[in-house]
Symmetry: C2
Subunit: 364 residues, 2 copies
Amino acid sequence: MSHSERTLLGPGPSNPYPEVQEAAARPLLGHLDPEFLQVLDSVTEGLRAVFGTSNTLTFPVSGTGSAGMEAAFVNVTAPEDVVVVGVNGLFGERMCDVAGRCGATVVRVEAPWGTPLDPEAVLRAHPAPSVIAVVHAETSTGVRNDVAAIAAGKGDALLLADCVTSLGGTPVALDAWGVDLAYSATQKCLGVPPGLAPFSASERAEAALLARPRSWYLDLQQIRRYVVGEGARAYHHTAPTAMIVMLDAALRRIREEGLDEVWRRHEECGRSLQDGLEAMGLTLFAQQGHRLPQLTSVWVPEARLPDGLDEAAVRRLLLDRFGVEIGGGVGPFAGRVWRIGCMGHAARPRTVALLLAALEEVLT
Amino acid sequence: MSHSERTLLGPGPSNPYPEVQEAAARPLLGHLDPEFLQVLDSVTEGLRAVFGTSNTLTFPVSGTGSAGMEAAFVNVTAPEDVVVVGVNGLFGERMCDVAGRCGATVVRVEAPWGTPLDPEAVLRAHPAPSVIAVVHAETSTGVRNDVAAIAAGKGDALLLADCVTSLGGTPVALDAWGVDLAYSATQKCLGVPPGLAPFSASERAEAALLARPRSWYLDLQQIRRYVVGEGARAYHHTAPTAMIVMLDAALRRIREEGLDEVWRRHEECGRSLQDGLEAMGLTLFAQQGHRLPQLTSVWVPEARLPDGLDEAAVRRLLLDRFGVEIGGGVGPFAGRVWRIGCMGHAARPRTVALLLAALEEVLT
């Protein structure tokens, strides 16, 4: 049993860094092993660096990015709390659903998919929300929202930011911006398989944690006693040790390459991909000036699809012929947009060149 | 960066099967890749075999065993529902906490730690509970509870069973017993790193699923549209593909060895370990006739600890000198009991021999 080698240029997962593949082969450690606890401390330090924070409560949630989203909301949202959510894509929609299940009164502030949120509109939406929530990098559209501008006007609210597709790819600066709760995912720009949700909470957020949130599994005060290395480690749930060892390898790799250089590499590859697509005559979906380099959305060129093939068949052809995975659109843009990621280890000139060449060959 | 090789004989994680280590090195697949979806289908088939069920909704939850527990309760428990919970260890206690956070009225039926639940007492506890919940193999004590006897008298209630430490080590037969909701974990007898919670729900449980459970991440009706291969796969959250590929390798390994043979191997190793500990003059903790082979609890022999070392220091000595991890006690038995697992790949005569020899050398 083996399987094909893929160049993963969809919206995630991306190809892991080689150091992560190497770490995957190491012998397994227990969650209370002193050697593993050193790895966990190293991961929390590495996450603070990429998140741009000194928050004590910084660690990987034992689930995928959406578990990070749920952990963020469920620990600070009591029934009837007012939560303002910026919605300009699928993950803003998801935030409304998650906050609603916590019993919150959700105030939606919308912008059309493909355009950024208006920070002023988000800040004007309610006079005294307990939480303002926005997606930094909308994976569904390839748009960057201005988290810094929204955080600057948050007032007494907690600012909650989805950094799933931004972390490790483009600048994130929780402390400088004033973000109180942030989560990400390992399978995007961090270059690790899916399964963990890097997470960080400010002191203000910690002070607002519910004593007994609806979720036992995601109860931050209980998890804190294990992940924060102050004295004895209290068992809460068994940490996914193999995944955390892989995340450590990625964070060390990013530190060695240099965070500025990693961001530059993502920026360069994304721009080069977007220029290349436009040079082929394709039309980018996300509004100019607000495009993410690590996640490019482009209109499906209907007139140039090969005879008898729809856009899904073309993606399948790229996969079967070149081993290249790209993503389709979601929500109202399913079947109409492609999403192409250049994230983590896949953010390289050679993957951009491969994708453009393969697309050129497939399209008529 | 590497780390030490361990023989993992604690309460989990156990050492992965070699086939799992091999699978960890394979190239990563995306969660919608046709090759990955074949792996997912293979995993659901393999899980049905070890769970002893034909339940359609059988899949790995994207979290550790406690996420499986939360998924089981949160999808069927509405506020004011009566939930009867058998409590004879830490994980029965945890069930009460999780059910309570769902708003349930929890009826506890206790038995002393180290002894099994009385099935009649569990069944008599309430005339019409909506859920009866029990732990099959109590990892905190090494005791097996009689799930079959409790399931046989469940009436109109749903029977919910924690199979975290039993699955893949001792017989589990959801359909024959009449269990409606069951969850497990990968890092015990299945021989996979921690990070997934195998899960299964009967048709009766599916009919009782809440339309909008408190958890978005663990919403079974939404997850079903992705994991059950009937037509298009609806994206819910990004499946932890690398972990699922590892679980597939373990389930194939178990199928090749034969489930009966795997159970026999666990039984043989556990009995041999327990006989060996008693031959050394140590006293087993769990009541005779109700002991799990895969998880042995033994009183710490205070009089035989080396001068100046407490039980935790002895465990540390086993780790440093022999690379052998065993577990301490929890709850009221912290510092008083050791827990020794022989699970998955670690259920072998050579690990039993190593543990007994190492302990013999360390104790006075």
